[in-house]
Symmetry: D2
Subunit: 142 residues, 4 copies
């Protein structure tokens, strides 16, 4: 059983994630969302490397990020994540990125995904993998 709102996933900002504007390059937040998402899956007993071995891939359908205040090297970020939709075919996550020191929400975002086999075909998760279906279903907080 997972927490309804999951987190925080946290780590320090890497130097190589900053750019010439002296802040974290905005593309990296999309990677941070992925880190938090895979950490979440691992935490509920579904490590993504094992899902891949099972033949389940979870590609990204869409992503959005809202930048309120930048992070830079020296900061530690915390990501809180919510699975807001899951029906066995698609799922959707929302993210909040906070500064660890102050708790300030500096970035928000979302991503939507589908579930496919290795040859990128959709499949019937509830029927083929009922345990995985139930585990994910139990985490949804709409």
């Amino acid at each position: 059983m997972c927490d309804i709102v999951f987190g925080p996933y946290e780590r320090p900002v890497q130097y190589y994630e900053t750019d010439r504007m002296k802040i974290v390059h905005h593309s990296n937040y999309v990677r941070w969302f992925e880190e938090a998402r895979l950490y979440f899956l691992e935490s509920i007993g579904l490590p993504y490397d094992r899902l891949e071995e099972t033949g389940i891939l979870i590609p990204v359908l869409s992503v959005d990020v809202q930048y309120k205040k930048a992070f830079t090297f020296g900061d530690t970020f915390q990501i809180f994540l919510k699975c807001v939709r899951f029906n066995g075919v698609k799922c959707e996550f929302k993210y909040e990125v906070r500064d660890k020191e102050t708790g300030e929400v500096r970035t928000t975002g979302g991503s939507s995904h589908c579930f496919v086999t290795e040859d990128m075909k959709p499949f019937h998760m509830k029927m083929l993998y009922p345990d995985i279906f139930d585990t994910l279903k139990a985490c949804v907080k709409e």
Copy 2:
């Protein structure tokens, strides 16, 4: 005077842009949008390195990407870009990423930005930099 719809900005996919799923990692499209945007600015006579020297930064406020079909190594992408809003304080772009060989639209997205000084303060572009204001204003296609 720039084209109302700008593009294409094109280049081959880099090997290091792919991931274990054998496709381009989804975070890279945010970088590709930036490449297209900076190429666009250069094409209308506003190379971003010179804007930075003038003291003008254009940070990203938000970004969104819709993934329809993946690119991988061996593909060449083309980005078509439209400046859909500009008022001297903020601006907004839309992007279409096509496969060069087939013309197929594989990714779409958008980004919004503000204009600030080096110490991240907004400024009155129409008053301080009327030429830059006019150049950008002339490119808008709402």
Copy 3:
């Protein structure tokens, strides 16, 4: 028949390749070497995506980079490359990265590689792929 010294492979520096020190992050030169190497392979009729389809992978055994003067956004780099060793089992490249505007050599480096099948096993290139062997052999300048 390829040029004994190959190049230049050139492109502008990307904004996202810079870091907080306002210069290109040093890890990116390893990626630039790869870009030049794959461009070289394509130029001699051996595009790497087709080599992969044939079942030939060319992983990196070692890499080294010497940083003399940094590149930053606004610069265009040129890479000149030399295949200094090839025996069907391993190969070795040397790289020079120059500033396009001044011709100044700003970075040098090298990389060594082996040839393996998809399951990471070595194979007898001269026997299995004599044409590829001959093409590469003809490019060596020790």
Copy 4:
């Protein structure tokens, strides 16, 4: 007082660090070395963001990596680091990257650096920052 051989610095491999060959892209090890190096500096009381504020930059002069066996997503790496040379003007590090689960050394490497001011000029560290000089000097294991 720091350990003569420092480490491990460890973390799981990120999904986005892998490439189409299904292994970690070789450029990322250069970033991992940086992570370990900055973690080392922080551990001996010299966090790099504070060094930068003081006006001290430590650019990279050269880097080399030897790849013995690849990491991929699902692995956790450990880096052990040794400062093998330091004279106030330059310093040199050696790295060993091990698989956390097996202890196997999969990658080795080195990097050399200089110390400069923000305008990239060398300075006399022993005279200007004797405390920093002594702290680093105490860590050297030739």
